[in-house]
Amino acid sequence: MSYPANYRYSREHEWIEVNGTIGTVGITDYAQSSLGDIVYVDAPKVGDAVTAGATFGSVESVKAVSDLYSPVTGKVTAVNEELKNAPDKINENAHEAWIIKVEIANPSELDALLDAAAYEAFVSEETGA
């Protein structure tokens, strides 16, 4: 699967799509494929604060738990409720199945994230592929 060019990516394997002041956050295709069948998403509530580089929830597959790290600091404005009953949407299309939307407090944090090409290079380095 290709990594959308208009997204930014964290080294913890989250993506963020920025529209104005709102960032939509999910996990990357590499992350979902490493985890395998996803059965549970633990997300924050609307209004909760998230901090760049800090955990904001977790995603669990049958065999593993993985923390979610926020790529930016801000306030949660929406949570994808669909994932509560259909967490496997992330396996189906990780770059569509968003987890939270965040009102971005500090846009300069986006500069620390990777673009699609840099993220792909980072992943292939990590996997040795």
Binding site: S33, G36, D37, V39, Y40, S58, E60, S61, V62, K63, V65, N91
Partner: protein, 373 residues
Amino acid sequence: MTELKKTPLNAVHRALKAKMVDFGGWDMPVEYPANGGGLIAEHLAVRNTVGLFDVSHMGEIQFRGPGALDAVQAVTMNDAAKLADGQAHYSALLTPNGCFVDDILVHRLGPNDYLFVVNAANIEKDFQWIKSQVGARPGVHVSDYSPYYAQLAVQGPKALDVLGKLTAVDIGALKNYWFTWGEVAGVGNVLIARTGYTGEDGFELYFPSDVPTSEKMWNALLEAGAEFGIRPCGLGARNTLRLEAGMSLYGHEISDAVNVYEAGLARWLKLDKGDFVGRGALAALNGNPARKLIALEMVERGIARDGYSVLNEAGEKVGTVTSGSPAPYLKTNIALALVARDVAAAEGDLFVDCRGNSVRAKRVAIPFYKRAK
């Protein structure tokens, strides 16, 4: 970093794009996500139709000679004198204090000939342990033949149909935990056992571990199973299947710090068969261990995982999860946990500390899943 050990089917797994992991020093497939597979699909294939596992990493240790039975009896907890030729049973190698060196299957090949199947990560430890206990006895040779055997497990309600297409042996007549020899897929002298680690009907096949023979057997089984929707299955599904079926896994439910009574495996403990390593300590316990293994089903959102704490209503730690996972067939979140004896004997819900959240769990019976006969 030492080189990972490989089964003769390593190239086959890679060609199938399996996700490979280091499992106790072995480069093994954990799941096969290609072609609509993956852990859940593999698990359900075994429950509903049939799955194929490469378990060639398992070890095989043979006892031979007129002193073989005495030696087997001295290092195992079950009563091997009860076995007939062609019969196998579940057993264990115990420490002097009644805990587990390993859990094993014992096959009686002949009156002076026994084959142990042991866990991959324990092969060397088990072999050294056995030699230290009975190696000097007259009339028995103990040999580690692990590298010479490949092992495949065909498991599921259609396992009999699949294997039946590849052999003239009347495998339908084999009872559970019995075995025979015969030609399978053109390979002669295969040890065919009606055993498994999934809670389903099925067979485990032992044959020479060269790559051409192993690939021939694997491909023949996949081809024969195609009409039934057979799936290659990895260690991920093997673990969730055994957990649903309430079976112990070394390093989780059982270890050198857990005794037979705590693990709830006294059904296979025969204190009256004569002396063996671990017998004295277990006899002294009189069936009253300090802890007991119990089964939990989560009733609130949250998944128990290995090592999580089990809490009482007051939030005090009363035990530890030994294996916890979503159960793909039962569609619940289940766990086995080792808890204090009084807690095991009591009633009422318990809680599992899932990463800081106290999640309510109810007690259920072991096994979680039992196939319809």
